[in-house]
Symmetry: C2
Subunit: 639 residues, 2 copies
Amino acid sequence: MKVAIPAAQPFSKSLKYCLKETFFPDDPLRQFKNQPPSKTFLLALQYLFPVFQWAPRYSLHFFKSDLIAGITIASLAIPQGISYAKLANLPPILGLYSSFVPPLIYAMMGSSRDLAVGTVAVGSLLMASMLGRAVNPNDNPTLYLHLAFTATFFAGILQASLGFFRLGFIVDFLSHATIVGFMGGAATVVCLQQLKSILGLEHFTHEADLVSVMRSVFTQTHEWRWESAVLGCAFIFFLLITRYFSKRQPKFFWVSAMAPLTSVILGSILVYVTHAEKHGVQVIGELKKGLNPVSLPNLVFKAPYMGTAIKTGLVTGIIALAEGIAVGRSFAMYKNYHIDGNKEMIAIGTMNVVGSFTSCYLTTGPFSRSAVNYNAGCKTAVSNIVMAIAVMLTLLFLTPLFHYTPLVVLSAIIVSAMLGLIDYEAAIHLYKIDKFDFLVCLTAYVGVVFGSVEIGLVIAVAISVLRVLLFVARPRTFVLGNIPNSEVYRNVEQYPNANHVAGMLILEIDAPIYFANASYLRERITRWIDDEEDRIKGMGETNLQYVILDMTAIGNIDTSGISMLEEVKKTAERRGLQLVLVNPGSEVMKKMNKAKLVEKIGQKWIYLTVEEAVGACNFMLHTCKANPRKDESEVWNNV
Amino acid sequence: MKVAIPAAQPFSKSLKYCLKETFFPDDPLRQFKNQPPSKTFLLALQYLFPVFQWAPRYSLHFFKSDLIAGITIASLAIPQGISYAKLANLPPILGLYSSFVPPLIYAMMGSSRDLAVGTVAVGSLLMASMLGRAVNPNDNPTLYLHLAFTATFFAGILQASLGFFRLGFIVDFLSHATIVGFMGGAATVVCLQQLKSILGLEHFTHEADLVSVMRSVFTQTHEWRWESAVLGCAFIFFLLITRYFSKRQPKFFWVSAMAPLTSVILGSILVYVTHAEKHGVQVIGELKKGLNPVSLPNLVFKAPYMGTAIKTGLVTGIIALAEGIAVGRSFAMYKNYHIDGNKEMIAIGTMNVVGSFTSCYLTTGPFSRSAVNYNAGCKTAVSNIVMAIAVMLTLLFLTPLFHYTPLVVLSAIIVSAMLGLIDYEAAIHLYKIDKFDFLVCLTAYVGVVFGSVEIGLVIAVAISVLRVLLFVARPRTFVLGNIPNSEVYRNVEQYPNANHVAGMLILEIDAPIYFANASYLRERITRWIDDEEDRIKGMGETNLQYVILDMTAIGNIDTSGISMLEEVKKTAERRGLQLVLVNPGSEVMKKMNKAKLVEKIGQKWIYLTVEEAVGACNFMLHTCKANPRKDESEVWNNV
């Protein structure tokens, strides 16, 4: 059997295929195939606004579940929203605003049924640290606030464009290991920041790294307030206990979901009764009544601050997106429905853009809140609408109740949420299965905790990209041997009983040959030949005569790869060896043919299976040995 | 036959293997194995200074060849050196200095026998454009000169450290296609710059892009000097004619090699006789007699200029290194000897560091000069020593002769050298074999010509890296079919006669499964299943029951890849399909085992060959069909 050279395709066709695989691997237009125009319009509408897809089938039964889930997440959203807004150095009310408008947008456009929309701790912290470098939130709170809206706007624009241009796969380059390390580090940093309110400190470092925080904490031990510390520890303990209980008894998920709101109520009552606000326990204070004011005119599009806003928007936008997409995908997997990552990005982006016009800051689908939503039995995005209505009612009528809420309770809520993000079990899992993944995870963690959130992020992304580059630059090569009593040839390292074939070196290359690995592979093949000749010298076996390259796993090749093969052929010839190729794939065969390499190597030295190649080489070896005068071409004529 | 799970290795061993393959793929210490200490010392000395390796075997016969080659390249080096120094806005004498010290260093440390050391046009232009942005070479020539030395110093440090830390593979990421485009673009830009001297213009744009240069040239047509233009065109014509002649008649290689020096002599005589320097033909003027002065104390290690020098050094250093290594490797290939890229980097780096102490600027192994050296029959690096001595004699006695050399001749020399670098044939070759490579090449070219050299370089590197990332992110997957009358399963696209196997979908994944492609592959496999089910629906064949993944080509997997396989298994189960794996490699099997995926999938669903897997599935299909009551486990018990 001959190795087939595929028919030449027009360039436009292969380009189309390549673009399709790059940008439309999930084939989102599949459903539009062969549909009448009216149906196409409906499908398109449903595609952009999934609400039109599920709303007609919505039932009272669904609504009951969604109502419970919505109220549950609202009770979590209100205290968390206020806490995270404080973390971002923004007015606490912004946390409530951000839990009102964005969930409504997402309910229209999002395709996840389980995602609960809201602000996130890591995004809030990042925003505070990046914007805080340009504007001091205490000196100029208005400008700082406007920059936060602007950053949210740009984050939304970025997210929506990534989705629109179908570049969602960029998020894939943040590997799972990177995210585990980064999130764990960010959670640690966020917890450290809470020491300020828990210890009731007035002055605190502006740095977020472990060393600065520890120095700041331990240089002012005399400023520690025991009232605050006792309150904080008590609430952390309470929250952790409820979480532990809910984990053990999943039926009582609402216990841990309600715990933050309960803490807020308890804390507020305690302060109100004891007047603790006059004894060093800081409280939220006045919260304005009323719905989100319009913030569109507040967006800053002028130098020198716009640059900072854009940078902050891009970084926080990507991080928030990665979390939202990952959360949406995980729950979709559990419930066995499909999520289009690019469409989700458009939904999340739009919700942030609209949010930035209505006094909201960066939102996404946080893991903790979505998990509560899922456990509470949500059926559709209606639970987000219920949450938004609950928040709206709070904004309209209940804000005065938060006047006496102590900040230390908010800190306790943050700490207990963050401790769940430090996923040490995942890190142990990584350590067991793949040490390199663990290293990536650890580096990201250390970078965040000892450097800063941005440094950790940059390091994590750099390592991820470096890893991809290294994967490509240093592919594996194996020597194949014959598995006894079969015609199967496999890696001799994995199958120690596989036998070397006398006079032949059978190599398998496990990666596409590209510019990035061409010179490595050339050197590696030479070294395999050297090693094999050394081995033979010691054993007194038949001299090496054939180098057989199993190209099954070489999916693709570029021009550098072709030159590399030419060079390997030359090197082999100079050492008196014949190069034999086995099973080149369609792309490889096409390019080798165009580059005339098939002719140069000779079609007769290209086989479909290793078995055939070995058979032919064995035949040549024995015929030539039996009759050394006959030269190869004669033997070939007789075959 | 069972798929073997390789014995667990200690982490230290696999780390050692990994580090070795990453940093020592060429096994440079191979020769030191099992040697007595004295021999080891000699080998180490020879390793660092290859001169000790070849000098003892040096013969008079070799010297004759080297003498001729050395004189030939000196005659090219002197005018080229002066020209390129002008291009870098440096005093012309620096070109001569740079052809004296660095070749001597290289002759000791370099392992190439054909590399001729000298300055390069692209490096000179880059240095001018990057340093020129910080310091105007006309306003502050001394500072500019010192910065050039400093940049050379840092370039050398970078080059030597890359070699020392065995990071030479970084250079591999500049693909051949990128270099063709970048070099062509840089050559075009350098040629455009020569319009200034050829047209005898006084004022000229400081930008290097096509648009600015053309605007500058055509807005001052009244300033064009015909004397200069005629002289320039005549010399370009002369140089091109001699080159064409030498190419046709390789025996007369010296004709084109001597042509630049001849042009300089002819031009100088012409100017001296006609006093053309008083009629608008600019000349070099005074050149100082004497050898290289020491420039070590001139290096600038202070802000604000040190940053610029470092940046310039890094960029020009990498570019120069890429050219030097590529040239060295190419000629080593022709003559069949081996070059250690990392060792070469140390040699080139050291020569630049020492050069920066002795009034030299950036040198490497330019292609044109090395080609002349090769054609002239050089045998060893002694030709570089001969060239250095010839340049030394020129510096000591002949510099006054260059007083009347017209700049336009230097421009003609540059233009004729640069035209050779625009390798349109290579671009056509790329177009024919790999359209994407051609695109990369074109983008680099356009970036350099219409943007700037740095923009082009950044774009080129970015595209190269992006390409690697895309390679990894979007691997190929194929459906396999049975080739008639055989038990071989191959890609149905490449072998259109291969038959689908009823009830089974056999997929081959052609790449390692990593975080970067895990979600793509998950979606792609789902789509293959969808497509196959659609196809079957149309044909009325047996329902799909087995998804067979041929994992032969999956060289490696990470934790994201493992999760992806788990998800594929779940998806398959939900659709009533059984996932079957074929021939996972040692790394994959090891990690699947650690993650307990082997248990989850079931050892009985993992086969060594596609043939066996199909056989087992067929057996199951028919047994179940014949006896639908029997469930699978019973059948298995009977197997």
